[in-house]
Amino acid sequence: MNWDVMWDSLPELAEGALLTIELVAISGVLGLALAVPLALARVARPLWLRAGPFAYIFVFRGTPLLIQIFLVYYGASQFETVRESFLWPILREAYWCAIIAFTLNTAAYTAEILRGAIQAVPEGEVEAAKAIGMGRWMRLRRVVLPRAFRIALPAYSNEVILMLKGSALASTITLLDLTGVARTLIAKTYMPIELFLAAGLFYLLITGIILQGFRLVEKRVHGVGE
């Protein structure tokens, strides 16, 4: 074990960690925003409304994130039309490709978590809301969704951790996230074990912070609820 190498790499790894956090935060928020309508459509009654989200969720949960990233980053540029379209300024950046892939991926998993939560909202509460004359939209906004979010919280915290771990794949498309920095440093020092361990510690630290954050939110949510 070469402790000096580990110690010296900390500032650069910390910089990589910042990019990792940024990627997770941005795609987490966008993914959640996309997941809500997806989940609602998924529990809707008409087949035409259900079918789309079902297929989307099925495809994104049924294929590896790595393949999804490669498809967005390398795959899209195979086509002339994509390279000449207005989307190219965004798609040419590895940064946005990573965000797009992570967002689409986490949206599928989060939608599935939310669907479960929406279906777990006690029937009685919905009926009570109906009885006091709440409209469909009002019921959704004031009763079903707040309740569903609370039910979904523990599962959602898991999903955020999974996304954090998945973000390591950004290193495969030239981004210098935590793993990317570690791999670049290994190319100079040839000490994979030391640097991957140091990077691993950073990931553990971030995981710890995220879990603590969710614990606080859960406490608050339940405090208000009861």
């Binding site: 540029s77 950046e93 030239t174």
Partner: protein, 252 residues
């Protein structure tokens, strides 16, 4: 149910024990990348092919050793040697002072130069002034990437790719303005359909590039054996035969 469980158990036990001791002495394990045409790549039949592979096979025959190839992503290729995943690296590796500290090199088996390649219509030149603010691609952990870091690090954005092939793919997609690469690899790509719109820009920026075989530090026996074999295949014409297969000029 019991049988299903037994099968699961058996599988798990096999996973942990199957990797028993392997006979170390008889076969020589050669580490290579498999994504660096025309030197080493994997074809539709799943077999390795290319200049490095032919040279390695010729050397093994000369040395009367049984050889076996192990493919490994480039940025892990020296760590893989250090971790005993193979006995030697024959993967178009340039001799650099940094690498020399970690591994031992044989004498060279070919020479190379670093040159920029970009679109024919682009007016990029290999000067600081022309490259300022541009995005340049190179393979991670190569002398090209290192050269960029040391000479242009403050004025260009460097994109590091896992494989050389991906760097060219990205040049073609327009994500990067130019690629810095070993001339001979770029030569092959420029010669192909994919690279027909591209050309070398300016003269080579670095021309002392010696490509050699890497062995573990202190493995003098193997290093000397390789040196002797390189000399022998240069002498008996095997080398020239392989050279001609890939390049119309001597690359030694």
């Amino acid at each position: 149910m019991k049988t299903a469980m037994k099968m699961m158990f058996a599988g798990a036990v096999a996973a942990l024990t199957i990797s028993g001791p392997a006979a170390a002495e008889d076969t020589l394990r050669i580490g290579t990348e498999g994504a660096y045409p025309p030197f080493n790549q994997i074809g539709p039949d799943g077999e390795l092919e290319g200049f490095d592979i032919d040279i390695a096979n010729a050397l093994c025959e000369e040395m009367d050793r049984n050889c076996e190839f192990v493919t490994q992503d480039w940025d892990g290729i020296i760590p893989g040697l250090l971790a005993d995943k193979y006995d030697a690296i024959i993967a178009s590796m340039s001799i650099t002072p940094e690498r020399d500290k970690a591994v031992d090199f044989t004498k060279r088996y070919y020479s190379n130069k670093l040159r920029f390649a970009a679109k024919k219509s682009s007016d990029i030149k290999p000067t600081k002034k022309s490259l300022e603010g541009k995005t340049i691609g190179a393979q991670r952990a190569t002398i090209s990437a290192q050269w960029l870091e040391e000479n242009m690090g403050d004025i260009v954005e460097i994109k590091r790719y896992d494989t050389q092939e991906n760097a060219f793919l990205e040049l073609d997609s327009g994500r990067i303005d130019a690629v810095l690469a070993d001339m001979l690899v770029a030569y092959e790509w420029l010669d192909s359909d994919a690279g027909s719109d591209y050309e070398f820009k300016g003269k080579a920026v670095y021309s002392g590039d010696k490509i050699a075989i890497a062995v573990k530090e202190g493995n003098n026996e193997l290093r000397k054996e390789f040196n002797k074999a390189i000399k022998a295949i240069r002498k008996d014409g095997t080398y020239q035969e392989i050279n001609e297969k890939y390049f119309p000029f001597d690359i030694y």
